[in-house]
């Protein structure tokens, strides 16, 4: 049963969960975690919202609607990082900058193409998780609607039976 408490905690927890996911991905090259775990954590965060609020309410968020396309966007990004080097005559998955050269910094963040690949992985996993959980939630809400309709329908029918049909 969904209570006010669970609704409030779900809403409060969403942003921290997404932030942890971002953190895991960005720090992936330096510390525990990578695009994969980040994707799972982020989609679990969304999954929690789906469980608490139901599909009908969540569907209005663009993030939910467009997340499944992330699977293909991520695949595309990952393929790009894999194949762009081959256009320059290098082996597949030759990352930039090459070994031994200093990577440009943005604050503490090192900008390297391996992280771009990891972002692709993140998008695939995130899209997968949100897409599958969303599909389940949608199926569930449809099922509930159907059950409600059936319950109402049977009530109407019983009413009729009592009213007139001779037995």
């Amino acid at each position: 049963m969904t209570t006010e408490l669970s609704k409030i905690s779900a809403r409060i927890l969403l942003l921290p969960v997404l932030m942890i996911a971002m953190g895991l991905m960005v720090k992936g090259y330096a510390d525990t975690g990578d695009g994969f775990s980040a994707g799972v954590i982020a989609s679990l965060g969304i999954g929690m919202q789906l469980i608490i609020f139901g599909h009908g309410e969540m569907e209005r968020l663009p993030l939910i609607r467009f997340a499944p396309y992330g699977v293909f966007a991520g695949l595309f990004i990952a393929l790009l990082t894999a194949f762009v080097p081959s256009m320059r005559g290098e082996n597949l998955f030759t990352h930039w900058p090459p070994a031994g050269e200093a990577a440009p910094h943005f604050g503490m963040l090192e900008l390297i193409t391996a992280v771009v690949f990891d972002i692709g992985v993140f998008l695939v996993v995130f899209g997968f998780g949100v897409g599958v959980l969303g599909a389940i939630a949608r199926g569930e809400s449809r099922m509930m609607q159907a059950e409600e309709r059936e319950a109402r329908g049977s009530r109407v029918r019983t009413g009729n039976d009592e009213a007139g049909t001779p037995t």
Partner: protein, 774 residues
């Protein structure tokens, strides 16, 4: 720019030939009625290019293709390539002209849309292009690629009338026979590679020496060639392939598909000549095909069946001549292919034209066509005369060469060659006289001139070859020289004396004529022998094998998809048995070691024990929710094990995976109908099923345990790799080895995994959307 200013003939011919199907399909998809015009135009262009390339100097083209295995994209427009390219494009051009008259009528009969013209000409020209590539290829792998391209194109051509089951089955048969046998070519090529470390034929020919490996390799390649040339006992696919529209038969069974087989023998001839047994093998197979094909051809009633078996028989001649070998044999075989292609394609087209005009398919329904279609009769008479080796046609020389090669082998071979040639005389004579002479028994309608003229021109060429043999002689000499790899010269002339060849030819005419005139006496007897043979023959073995394979595959598939239990059993059971066999045959010394247990290991052991206990507990609950949660317990305990082992990345991933898995699992349970879930918790499986499942599970689990144990007992092999990766990680700008491995060192693996994830995603979505869970 270099190619534009100084074009390489070999490359140019291939490019022009490859452009033909592309252009035809491109224009034909836009306007189907233009497809045939473009097809004839591009076919003519390809033939013109082939003529130009034949006139220019011998050209080669070579680029490295797969460096690791020394596979080259190597082409050479040598004499052999020139001859077969001229045949493939020249006959191809005639067939395209013929088909542009034939296909509209065929589409009318079968009620097909005009776009089918595009398909037809596309495949026809694709076949031509693959054939052109095949005959120029100088690298065994390249030969294999073009070889299979011809098989694929022929599949679509033979099965062109795809609505008819017969056409589909025949196309499948042709494909299976020629593609399965093509593995012989591939395996032979690999054997040769093992011996000479190259796939390049010129290099192999330079280094070749007789050895048993080479003999086996060549035997396998010959197997592919003989199946493609429809030689006994693989002859059965060819008559079945006659369900194809007539232009296809005219092309595939005169100058292209079956010719590819004997071409390959010609190409590999230096290797064939290394071992005498291979030659004897060819003689035996060729002789059997000559006799079997010839006898069956004499009994067939349908025009195209007579022609089909005659092709089997006449390629038998070619194979025999290659087997007899020497410059006489090779020259004879090469020349025979030219003479046969001209006359046979004309006869096939004649059969199609007669059927289009009269609607009849068999000799017994047809007669006296000469009175209604005199031009066709004259053209095909020339072609038939060529087949029957009458003087003043190119066919006379083909038999003369055959007799020369046979005479060198002594009296028995001489006699045999006369017998074979008499059969050819008889079945072709029977076909022509049966169609064109006698009483008119059928209606006639007007047919387009495109159905008649190619026959007349090809018949004319057959006659021209008998009167002015020089150009054909030149082409055949060059081709034979390329086969033998030294210059040989063919000498062809009429001699009015009593040399052996002339006497043999005369006896062939006499014997053939006798056979023709006495048909009524031998017809019944021969037919019954042939029908017994066809009931017990190799076609039956093929069909039985095919049916058995289909039944086996169906029953395995049926078991696998019956329910979830049988699906898991069909994966785990065989996997367990295979792993068990591997364990049995691997030396086990030092594999199954129980290491010392220290105090610091106690937390680890505790968690492993917890995981094991929860693993056992999974077998107990019957309702789904509890089952899902117990499964999670197993995985969480394992995650803790990873954490204790000091790999936080793996532990994190394990926890996350398990969480999302549990959520999805429970979500799926919600989607399932309650009644199904309730039913499954209440029903008790039979005792024997529990026992069977326990056995499968124990075998699979036990074997996995053994493998894990033996792998963990000797971890030394992988430590160097790990050390190297740890060392390289800072160079890859990383501090976390696991992430660096995933994104950099083994990036390709990760790419594959996320691709699988994306595909699985599509599958899951379609399952849930289609409401399959309900």
């Amino acid at each position: 720019m270099t190619w534009l200013t100084d074009p390489n003939p070999a490359l140019t011919v291939l490019i022009v030939a490859m452009l033909a199907p592309v252009l035809t399909v491109a224009v034909g998809s836009w306007k189907p009625e233009l497809a045939r015009i473009v097809a004839v135009g591009t076919g003519a262009l390809a033939f013109g290019t082939a003529l130009w390339a034949t006139a220019s100097d011998e050209a080669t083209f070579s680029r490295m293709w797969i460096e690791t295995w020394d596979v080259r994209f190597a082409l050479s427009f040598d004499g052999l390539a020139a001859m077969y390219t001229l045949l493939a494009t020249g006959i191809g051009l005639f067939v395209a002209v013929y088909a542009s008259g034939y296909m509209p009528l065929h589409r009318e009969h079968t009620r097909r849309p005009p776009i089918d013209d595009t398909r037809f000409f596309g495949y026809l020209l694709l076949f031509m292009a693959s054939m052109v590539g095949l005959v120029m290829a100088q690298d065994l792998i390249l030969i294999f690629v073009f070889w299979d391209m011809t098989a694929v194109a022929s599949f679509f051509l033979i099965g062109f009338d795809r609505e008819e089951e017969d056409a589909r089955e025949s196309a499948q048969m042709a494909l299976l026979v020629t593609v399965i046998s093509a593995f012989g070519l591939l395996v032979g090529a690999l054997l040769l590679w093992r011996e000479y470390r190259t796939f390049s034929l010129p290099l192999i020919f330079e280094d070749m020496e007789p050895s048993s490996t080479v003999t086996w390799a060549v035997a396998l390649i010959l197997f592919a060639a003989l199946a493609k040339s429809a030689q006994f006992p693989f002859h059965f696919w060819l008559p079945r392939a006659m369900v194809a529209p007539t232009p296809v038969s005219a092309y595939l069974h005169s100058a292209a598909m079956v010719a590819a087989g004997v071409f390959l023998i010609g190409r590999m001839y230096p290797l064939v000549a290394l071992d005498e047994r291979l030659g004897n093998f060819l003689v035996a197979i060729g002789a059997a095909s000559m006799i079997v094909g010839g006898l069956i051809a004499l009994t067939r009633d349908a025009f195209k069946q007579v022609l089909a078996y005659s092709t089997v028989s006449q390629y038998g001649y070619v194979v025999v001549m290659f087997g007899l070998g020497g410059s006489d044999g090779v020259m004879g075989a090469t020349f025979y292919v030219i003479a046969h292609a001209l006359a046979k394609s004309a006869l096939f087209m004649m059969a199609g034209a007669v059927t289009e005009s009269t609607g009849t398919l068999t000799l017994s329904e047809t007669g006296g066509v000469a009175r209604k279609m005199p031009l066709l009769a004259a053209g095909s008479l020339l072609a038939a005369a060529g087949m029957m080796a009458l003087p003043m046609t190119i066919g006379f020389f083909k038999d003369e060469l055959f007799f020369t090669a046979a005479s060198a082998q002594g009296r028995a071979m001489q006699l045999f060659s006369v017998l074979g040639a008499s059969l050819a005389f008889a079945y072709i004579g029977r076909l022509w006289t049966g169609i064109f002479l006698g009483e008119v028994r059928q209606e006639h309608r007007q047919v387009p001139i495109m159905l008649t003229w190619p026959v007349v021109v090809l018949g004319g060429l057959t006659l021209l070859g008998g009167l002015w043999v020089e150009p054909f002689r030149q082409i055949a000499s060059d081709a034979a020289s390329a086969s033998i790899r030294h210059d040989v010269e063919l000498h062809l002339a009429y001699h009015l004396d009593t040399r052996a060849e002339n006497m043999m030819a005369v006896s062939v005419y006499a014997a053939g004529l006798t056979l023709l005139l006495t048909e009524r006496w031998w017809r019944m007897g021969l037919s019954s022998i042939v029908s017994i043979g066809s009931k017990l023959g190799p076609a039956r073995i093929y069909l039985m094998t095919l049916r058995g394979a289909v039944r086996l595959s169906d029953s395995l598939h049926g078991f696998e998809v019956r329910d979830l239990r049988s699906r898991i059993a069909s994966i785990l059971g065989p996997a367990g048995v295979l792993v068990g066999l591997a364990v049995l045959f691997t030396p086990t010394e030092g594999s199954f070691v129980v290491g010392p247990i220290e105090r610091s290991d106690i937390p680890l052991i505790t968690m492993v024990t917890a995981a094991a206990i929860s693993g056992l507990v999974v077998t107990l609950p019957r309702d789904h929710l509890r089952l899902a949660l117990t499964l999670s317990c197993v995985a969480y305990s394992l995650a803790v094990v990873y954490a204790f082992l000091g790999s936080p990345d793996v532990a994190l991933v394990a926890v996350l995976i398990e969480t999302i898995f549990a959520v999805v699992f429970i979500g799926m349970l919600v989607l399932m109908p309650r009644s199904t879930l309730r039913f499954e918790t209440q029903v008790r499986p039979a005792r024997w099923r529990i026992g069977r499942d326990a056995i499968i599970a124990s075998v699979a689990g036990g074997m996995a345990f053994l493998v894990a144990w033996s792998a963990l007992s000797r971890p030394s092999a992988s430590t160097t790799v790990i050390a190297r990766q740890i060392e390289l990680t800072p160079l890859a700008h990383g501090k976390d080895i696991v992430t660096v491995i995933l994104a950099d060192f083994r990036g390709f693996d990760t790419m594959g995994e996320i691709t699988v994830l994306a595909i699985a995603f599509l599958g899951i979505l379609s399952l849930i959307r289609a409401g399959r869970l309900r």
